[in-house]
């Protein structure tokens, strides 16, 4: 797949030119997080009459190497100039690497953060001044500011930097480590950089490497950036360690959308009915042991029952529900569909939906309309709800919520987990997922409703929706064996 060079954008809020970050489909300035951005690609420029602002800093083109010269020798040539590494670093980071004649010939630069090379835009206002100790590049920012990059003014240290493999190091196995341990440590060492540019890790490591430099590594921090972007280089904005980096990734992933199990709210847990086994009820019960601790129930045991009619020791069930609000046996969800996924605690205080506020309302929601004489059936959702429940649904229960594109985890009858689950308990108890009506006779009259109609209906909707989603994705990715169906 040929990658189209991703263009640079101009942020009208801070004046930075960058590749924007996309958050929920909205592009944000990579520098100030502003949203007032303009694309700088001349081909896509919406206003061709408006003069494009100056291009990002472009590395001075070294004299084009003889054709056939390998990349590594080109790089060594850059080393010899001193500060070649910094040029490379900076150039790649800002996507201007394409201006390097040798690299342009070699195709798009995969090490630039966007994964593709920057377009060669017209350079205006770029000055270059090669002094004795290094080079200075200046450019104009659209707002009138001026940017300046100075290369190679750090004397020995800079020269040392030019030598280490750094983020472009071979194989990228521990490019970053090599980079920093190599600071000045291998001043004379020559490293083969060939292939380093193709390492997919280079982008990340490169970025981190630059961050670390900008953050002010003592004694190493060059007069690296002056001008507009410098104000953005706040040490607190960058991570220094792998751990910190992972942490940020973690945060980003969490921000991208909650996943994982949702706990049941305290209200729901507290509201689950408790039953004490009598000799008679124990004998009638299909469930002879607790599925969690596998201990046999005995007369006098207090058990908790979830709406799908499975029973557990309270001490076995409650810690689980506080992690994952679903039945351990059949995954019947105790978390309302429209409950706030982001903040499960919210369901304790707020109404799940429809303006229900009090605890009793929530419980009523969960348990149905005060003991409708419904036949407690199995939680298998492929079954249509019994007729009486359907009619009840049409009159007294709000319609199920509209199908949503990403249903939360719920019962997945086809999941691999079900097989072992039913095998593991098939010896002693009825298989609750078999679809046959389960006889539950152990509850008192006030608990006679097993699954309230709206709950069941919502459950069914969820399943249908899940099925539809799966089909759609299968069609979309029919060529792809990896079909998303679990997130």
């Amino acid at each position: 797949m040929s990658s189209r060079p991703s263009p640079f954008w101009l942020c009208h809020e801070c004046g930075a030119q960058m590749r924007p970050l996309e958050v929920n489909g909205v592009k944000h300035c990579a520098s100030c997080n502003g949203e007032f951005l303009e694309i700088l690609d001349p081909e896509v420029n919406p206003d061709p009459y408006h003069e494009l602002p100056p291009a990002p800093p472009v590395r001075p083109s070294t004299s084009p190497p003889p054709s056939g010269q390998s990349r590594s020798s080109l790089e060594e040539e850059q080393h010899a100039e001193g500060g070649g590494f910094m040029q490379h670093l900076f150039g790649s980071l800002f996507g201007a690497a394409a201006s390097n004649a040798g690299q342009e010939r070699a195709g798009p630069d995969p090490s630039s953060p966007g994964g593709s090379s920057a377009p060669r835009t017209g350079v205006s206002g770029l000055g270059q001044n090669q002094g004795a100790g290094g080079r200075t590049f200046t450019w104009n920012f659209p707002g009138g500011g001026q940017g300046r990059v100075v290369f190679g003014t750090m004397g020995g240290q800079m020269g040392g930097m030019g030598q280490v493999g750094g983020p472009f190091g071979p194989g990228g196995d521990d490019g970053l480590d090599a980079f920093f341990s190599g600071f000045g440590a291998r001043p004379g060492g020559q490293q083969n950089r060939a292939g380093g540019l193709n390492d997919p890790m280079a982008g990340d490591d490169l970025l981190r490497g630059l961050m670390e430099i900008m953050s002010g590594e003592p004694g190493v921090m060059p007069p690296f950036l002056t001008g507009a972007p410098q104000g953005r280089a706040n040490p607190g904005d960058y991570v220094m360690t792998q751990q910190g980096f992972d942490q940020i990734l973690e945060q980003l992933m969490q921000a991208a959308g909650p996943q994982g199990p949702i706990p049941a709210s305290e209200v729901v847990i507290e509201g689950l009915p408790r039953i004490t086994f009598t000799e008679e009820s124990l004998e009638k019960s299909v469930y002879k042991d607790c599925p969690v601790c596998k201990e046999d129930f005995t007369v006098g045991d207090e058990v908790m029952r979830v709406p799908c009619a499975h029973v557990f020791h309270p001490d076995c069930l409650q810690p689980w529900l506080k992690i994952n609000g679903s039945c351990p046996v059949c995954r019947f969800s105790l978390v309302p569909e429209d409950g706030n996924r982001q903040n499960p605690q919210a369901t304790q205080a707020q109404a799940p939906s429809g303006g229900l506020t009090s605890v009793t309302d929530i419980l009523q929601r969960l348990w149905g309309q005060g003991g409708a004489p419904s036949n407690p059936t199995s939680p298998t959702t492929e079954q249509a709800p019994p007729v009486n429940l359907t009619s009840q649904l049409s009159t007294s229960v709000p319609p199920p919520p509209a199908p949503q594109p990403s249903p939360p985890p719920a019962v997945q009858p086809q999941s691999a987990a079900d097989t072992p689950a039913s095998t593991s308990e098939g010896q002693t108890e009825g298989t609750p997922t078999s679809g046959a009506p389960v006889e539950v006779d152990l509850e008192g009259p006030m608990l006679s409703s097993a699954i309230p109609a709206d709950y069941r209906e919502r459950h069914r909707q969820r399943e249908l929706e899940r099925e539809r989603e799966r089909e759609r994705q299968t069609q979309q990715n029919s060529h792809d064996p990896y079909v998303d169906d679990l997130d």
Binding site: K294, R331, S415
Partner: protein, 157 residues
Amino acid sequence: MATGLASKRLMKELAEIKSKGTPPGITLLSAEDMQVWLFSIQVLGDETIYKGETFALKMKFGPRYPIECPEVTFVADQTYNAVIPIHPHCYSNGHICASILGNEWSPVLNCVAICITMQSMLASNKKKERPQGNDRYVRNAPSNPKLTRWHYDDDTV
């Protein structure tokens, strides 16, 4: 007391394994304490690409087992001539990307159920290959696979 629940439950599982045995192809190699157990898994039959291979599955139980899933990894073990299976869901460090070891864990599952799942995961595989991005993952992976945020995207294998 959660810790009590863990060891009680494990004792029960152990007793059941000892009295009823394990399913074909699955053997309990060691269960010296209530913290780490080692199972061996073989895929039986002629159809499998893992014919003749033995794998060792290590389970590490926390005090909150079975409310929390054990840490499950494949280990290379010379004593048992076990290697880490080459499978699109098994990383070369032994970490396994399987939903029941993550957010689809349920306390009704047990050690044998995990073994059966792993066995069937291996049995249904047709091509020996490592997951995409194996090297990168292995380089940065935490030692405890439960700390990895898995993305389960394939239910065919």
